[in-house]
């Protein structure tokens, strides 16, 4: 652990939040609260489709897993799911142990996530 968390957020056509998280996703880092508040704000705005890019995440604990579960729960209420990009074996293992792998969809990049939403949620007809 080196106690750093970095968050970058962008949107695809105002309906898909693309959140890139690098560093350590744990309650012990200062920026964790910021991430939670930001995520909550997007949910209040009515956004429930998210692509979480964890490609540069080095550590995650149960509080970090909790953020993913919250997003997945909101998506589920809208009969949708969230997309997760993650290829580091140690992070993927934690997501498997927590059963998070069963409530998210793993994609290999942002474009695949967008294509998934376009195909499953018929986004092409809405935008």
């Amino acid at each position: 652990m080196d106690g750093k968390l970095s968050i970058k957020v962008s949107f695809y056509k105002d309906i898909i939040g693309i959140i890139s998280i690098s560093g350590e996703l744990t309650v012990f880092v200062e920026e964790f609260d910021l991430l939670c508040k930001e995520v909550l704000a997007y949910i209040k705005m009515g956004i429930y489709r998210f692509i979480l890019d964890l490609g540069h995440l080095t550590y995650i604990d149960s509080s970090g897993v909790g953020v993913i579960i919250r997003l997945a729960a909101v998506a589920s209420k809208h009969s949708s799911t969230i997309c997760v990009i993650c290829d580091q074996p140690q992070i993927k293992k934690i997501l498997e142990i927590s059963n998070v792998d069963k409530i998210v969809r793993f994609v290999s990049n942002v474009q695949e996530g967008i294509s998934f939403y376009i195909a499953t949620d018929r986004l092409g007809e809405k935008v």
């Binding site: 652990m1 012990f28 604990d61 909790g66 579960i69 919250r70 589920s76 293992k93 142990i97």
Partner: protein, 139 residues
């Protein structure tokens, strides 16, 4: 080999301790990188539980940690005892066998139980509680 640490809940002390723990696991543990990451995760979660639930985010309270690594002929045993000095729990805590799809509570202890071979939290006979975890690696 026995390693002993005393830390507070302050971020810098936890970071320093976890670096040392990873160092110990990498140098003396006969496990791959993913497994040492899992062990690190369990110890981190146990400390997080103490800070959240026992110490209620009072980051100055102390936590004692003892790590034992025992080499036997065909296996290596990793054990850790984490002692807190907060209010003792009424009865031992054992992890749930399963958690709901979107359940947040108890997911950390559930995850520890899936990684470790043995795990419980019991009240200490003097003051506070002891978290115990054990993992056996067959060589």
């Amino acid at each position: 080999m026995i390693f002993k640490f005393t830390i507070s809940g302050r971020e810098d002390q936890i970071v320093q301790f976890e670096k040392k723990l990873l160092d110990i696991l990498n140098k003396t543990g006969r496990m791959d990188e993913v497994t040492s990451h899992e062990i690190h995760f369990c110890v981190h979660e146990a400390i997080l539980n103490i800070i959240q639930h026992t110490y209620k985010w009072d980051l100055d309270k102390l936590i004692e940690i003892r790590v034992d690594i025992t080499d036997e002929e065909e296996k290596q045993i990793f054990e850790v005892w984490i002692r807190d000095f907060g209010e003792s729990i009424d009865k031992p805590i054992f992890p749930p066998r399963k958690v709901g799809q979107f359940q947040l509570r108890k997911r950390g202890v559930y995850m520890i139980s899936k990684i470790m071979d043995e795990f419980y939290v019991k009240p200490h006979h003097e003051i506070g509680n002891v978290t115990y975890m054990k993992k056996i690696f067959i060589l």
